[in-house]
Amino acid sequence: MNEKRINLLVDLARVGIIISITLALVFLIVFLASQEPFVAIYSFFIGPFTSIRRIGNIVEAGAPLMFTALAVIIIFRSGLFSMISEGAFFIGITGAMIAAIAWRLPFPLHPFGAILFGGFCGAVAALIPALLRMKWSVSEVVTSIMLNYVIQFLSIYLVNYHFREISSSSLASLLLEPTAKLPVIFPGTRIHVGILIALAACIVLYLFLYRTALGYSIRVVGDNQTFARYSGINAAKTMLFAQIIAGFIAGIGGASELLGMYTRFKWTSSPGYGWTGIVVALLAKRNPLLVPIAALFIGYMNVGADIMARSSDVSREVVDIIQGVMMLLIAAEALLGGFRQRLIVSAAKLEDSLKSPEIKLKQEKGV
C-alpha cells in the first residue's frame, strides 16, 4: 500500500467517523428534546426529498454556500485566516441591490452588471483586512470579524436611509427592477441561473489554483512562506491578490443570491453564509471541485432542519450545533493520525522486507 492509498483510506475513515458522530448527535438531541422524535427524525432526513420543490430548496440553499466556501478556500489556501467572506457576501448583496434599483439597463446586461458590481464591493471589503495585515501586521482574524459587523450596519443604513420602501412597516428595500432578476432554470422550483454561476466558479477556481502560475504561487505561499520567498514569489502581493479574488467570489455570491431569490432586500442582519462556508470548505478538503457536493450536503441538512422545525417541536438551530461539531471534528488534524502513522510504518516495513537483500545492502552503504 503506498502513501497515497493510505491517506485516502484514513480520509475515508475520518469522514466515516465524522458522519457517524454527527448522526449520533442528531439522534441524541432529537430524542432528548422532542416529544415526537420519530416525526422529527423523519422530517429531518427524509423531508427534503419528499417533493420537487423541497429538492429545489436543497440546491437553492447550497448555491450561496458554494460561493462563500470558494472564497474561504482561496483565503485559507493563501495562508491568511480572514473571516471576511461573511462581510463580502453581505456587501455583495447590498451592491447588487443598489445596481438593481438604481440602474436602468436591458435584461441580460442588468444582472450581469449588478453581479459584477456586487463582486467589486466584495473584493474591496476583502482587501481592507488584508492590506492592514500586509502593511502593519494587524491581526486579520479580529479586523475581518469587526469589519463584518461594520458592513452589516453600513448595508442596513443604506437600505434604511436611501432605498427603503416607505410603505412597508418592516425593513425592506424598494422593489428590484424586473430586468435585473436572474431567471429560474427549473420551473416548479426557485433554482436560478446563480447555481450555474456557482458551478462555473468551482471549475474556474480549480483550474486557477491547480493550472495557473498565480494559483500555484497562492498555494506555495499558503503552505510555506519561507520557501515562497526563496523561490522568488512575492508573498504579500500573492496574498493580496488571493483576497481580492476571494472577496470578488463571495460578492458575486451575494449578488446572485439577491437577484435570483428575492424581489427586495429584507435582511436585518448578516445571514451567516460566510461562517457556514467555512464548514463547507473544510468538508470539501479545500478542493474547489468537491465544493458542490459539500455545499449540497450542508444545504440538505439546513433544509431538513427547516422542515423539522415546521413539522415537529425541535428548533432549526440543531443544524448550527451540528455544523459546529462537524467543524471541530474536521479541524482536528490529529484525529486518526496515529492510525495513519501505524499504516505507513507497517507498509514501509512490508516494502522493506520485499526488497532483495542485495538492494538493501546497497542502500545501507549509501550507494
Binding site: 438531541i29 428534546a33 485566516f81 473571516m83 492592514l132 502593519w136 501586521s137 494587524v138 491581526s139 482574524v141 479580529v142 479586523t143 470579524i145 469587526m146 469589519l147 459587523y149 461594520v150 450596519f153 453600513l154 442596513i156 443604513y157 434604511n160 436611509y161 461562517w275 467555512i278 464548514v279 473544510l282 428548533s315 438551530e317 440543531v318 443544524v319 448550527d320 450545533i321 451540528i322 455544523q323 459546529g324 461539531v325 467543524m327 471541530l328 479541524a331 482536528a332 488534524e333 490529529a334 484525529l335 493520525g337
Partner: protein
C-alpha cells in the same frame, strides 16, 4: 457638536462607561492568561454566550444566584476544555476551533433557550436572578466621584480585583512563571520538564472562567435577561484589547477602557440625530482603528530599534 461634550462629561456617561467596560475587562483578562501561555483563544465569544445563558438557567432552576454562578462558570469551563482538547490534543487550528465553538454556542444557546422557555429571542419569560449592585461605604458620599465609582455591580468590582489577581498569578506565582515560560518558548519549557500541554490546559481553563464571568455579566447584571447573540462581538473586542495591551494586564485594562469608551459613546449618541446604524457600527470600527493605530505604532518603534 457641543451637545456631545455635555453628554460625555456627565456623571451618567462615566458611570455607563464603567458599566460597558466590565465585560470587556473580564474577558480580556482571560485572554491575557491564554495569550501568555501561547494560545489565542478565538472561542471566547462562544464561551461568553454559553455562560450568559447557563448562568441565567442555573439561577432559574436553582432559584438563587449561587446556582446560577456555579452553572455559568461550569458551562464556561466545559466549553473551554472542549476548545483545549481539540486544539491541544487533536491539533485543530485555533482559528477553526474557535470558529467552531462560536458556531456551536450560537446554535446551542438558542436551542436550549427554546427548549426551556419556548421562545427563541430572550429569556424574559423565566425568572432569573441578577448579581447585586454594591454601594461602597465612604466612597459613595463623595460628590461626583462617588456617583461615578459607587453603586456598580458586584462583578464590576470583582473585575478590578481580578485585574490584580491575574497580575499576581502571572508574575508572582510558580504557575504564572510556567505559563509565561510555555508561552515564550514551548520547546525550552518542555526541555526543563514543564508539561506544556497541561499548563496550557490550565491557562485555557482560567481564561474560560473569566470569560464565563464576562458572559454572565451581560445576562445577569448589564441586562436582567439572556438574549440571543447578546455578546455581539465582545469576545473579539476583548481579544483586540488583549493584543493592544500587549498581553500585559494593566495595558489590557486600559485598552479595554478605550474600546468600551466607544461602546458607551454609542449608547449616548442614540439620543442625537445620527443614523442608528452608524452609532451601532462605532464600537467595531473603533476596534479596527485602535488595532491599526497600535500596529502602526509598534511597526515604527520596531524600525527605530533596528536602525
Amino acid at each position: 457638536m457641543p451637545a456631545i461634550f455635555s453628554y460625555i462629561f456627565s456623571v451618567d456617561f462615566f458611570f455607563m462607561w464603567i458599566r460597558v467596560a466590565t465585560p470587556i475587562i473580564l474577558v480580556a483578562l482571560g485572554a491575557v492568561v491564554c495569550e501568555r501561555s501561547g494560545v489565542v483563544n478565538l472561542g471566547l465569544e462562544g464561551t461568553m454566550l454559553i455562560a450568559a445563558l447557563f448562568g441565567v438557567l442555573g439561577s432559574y432552576f436553582g432559584k438563587g444566584l449561587l446556582p446560577g454562578f456555579l452553572l455559568g462558570i461550569a458551562s464556561a469551563l466545559v466549553v473551554s476544555l472542549l476548545f483545549a482538547f481539540f486544539h491541544l490534543v487533536l491539533k485543530a487550528n485555533n482559528v477553526l476551533c474557535g470558529t467552531a465553538i462560536n458556531t456551536l454556542a450560537a446554535g446551542l444557546t438558542v436551542f436550549v433557550l427554546q427548549m426551556v422557555t419556548g421562545e427563541k429571542g430572550t429569556s424574559a419569560s423565566i425568572k432569573s436572578y441578577s448579581y447585586p449592585e454594591v454601594n461602597i461605604p465612604i466612597l459613595k458620599d463623595i460628590p461626583i466621584l462617588g456617583e461615578i465609582l459607587s453603586g456598580h455591580n458586584l462583578l464590576t468590582y470583582l473585575a478590578i480585583v481580578l485585574l490584580f489577581v491575574v497580575m499576581f498569578l502571572l508574575f508572582k506565582t510558580p504557575l504564572g512563571l510556567r505559563i509565561r515560560a510555555v508561552g515564550e518558548n514551548p520547546h525550552a519549557a518542555e526541555s526543563v520538564g514543564i508539561p506544556v500541554v497541561r499548563i496550557r490546559f490550565i491557562a485555557i481553563s482560567i481564561c474560560g472562567a473569566l470569560a464565563g464571568l464576562g458572559g454572565m455579566y451581560l445576562s445577569m447584571a448589564y441586562l436582567p435577561i439572556f438574549a440571543r447573540d447578546m455578546t455581539a462581538g465582545r469576545g473579539f473586542i476583548s481579544l483586540a484589547a488583549c493584543a493592544m495591551g500587549r498581553a500585559n494586564p494593566i495595558g489590557v485594562f486600559v485598552s479595554a477602557l478605550v474600546f468600551a469608551f466607544f461602546d458607551g459613546l454609542s449608547n449616548i449618541l442614540q439620543v442625537l440625530r445620527i443614523p442608528a446604524e452608524f452609532v451601532q457600527m462605532m464600537p467595531y470600527a473603533a476596534t479596527i482603528l485602535g488595532l491599526t493605530i497600535y500596529s502602526i505604532h509598534r511597526a515604527h518603534s520596531l524600525q527605530r530599534k533596528h536602525s
